[in-house]
Point group: C2
């Protein structure tokens, strides 16, 4: 499918900017035109379009033009891939804590001692 590592580079890079996160936060609530996306942002339309371009390049957003209006949509699969990477790290960390707990329970003397963790 995707080169996931290269994709994650670009997705995390895209999300490292507060304006681009604002755009994502807007688009998860529904599609929006470029001018709707620009309205609450304190910057020029070309600057907004550059941010949208970064979001499109990493696959988080796609857009289509109908007449003179370009409408942007979120691409949930890329968001999900990013969430999965982070969740995998959290899960690995929790598993380590569990193993540590098991080890302490096994090597503790009595259950009462083990409960002091």
């Amino acid at each position: 499918m995707l080169n996931q590592s290269g994709s994650l580079d670009r997705v995390f890079q895209a999300l490292a900017d507060p304006t681009r996160r604002d755009i994502v936060e807007r688009l998860v609530r529904g599609p929006a035109s470029v001018s709707e996306l620009a309205r609450p942002l304190a910057m020029s339309l070309p600057a907004v379009m550059q941010h949208i371009q970064v979001l499109e390049t990493c696959g988080l957003v796609r857009s289509e033009k109908t007449g003179r209006v370009r409408t942007c949509h979120i691409e949930p699969g890329v968001l999900r891939m990013t969430e999965e990477w982070i969740a995998a790290q959290r899960t690995a960390w929790e598993r380590r804590l569990d193993r540590l707990g098991d080890y302490l329970a096994e090597h503790g003397d009595t259950p009462e001692q083990g409960s002091t963790r």
Copy 2:
């Protein structure tokens, strides 16, 4: 607490690099010394230390020196904050899909129209 937006900038920026993600993937499995972290990486020790520095600055990793050995640990709270932002986006997107489903059910032409929530 933290300035979450500024933190997210730095955390996403830190995660946009495959070496730094490798280091995170190693540390969620348990603490490691700088030289243990460097061993599988095809780069100089100073380069690895720079990556660790970026991870420490954004709060994903903390380290402590005992004698001549610096040991690195993951900081799960920052990982969790990042996961929460992404999960919030996914949730907002899913809620929108639900509302869209409700709307279609309500405005569809089935006789049970009123009974759909």
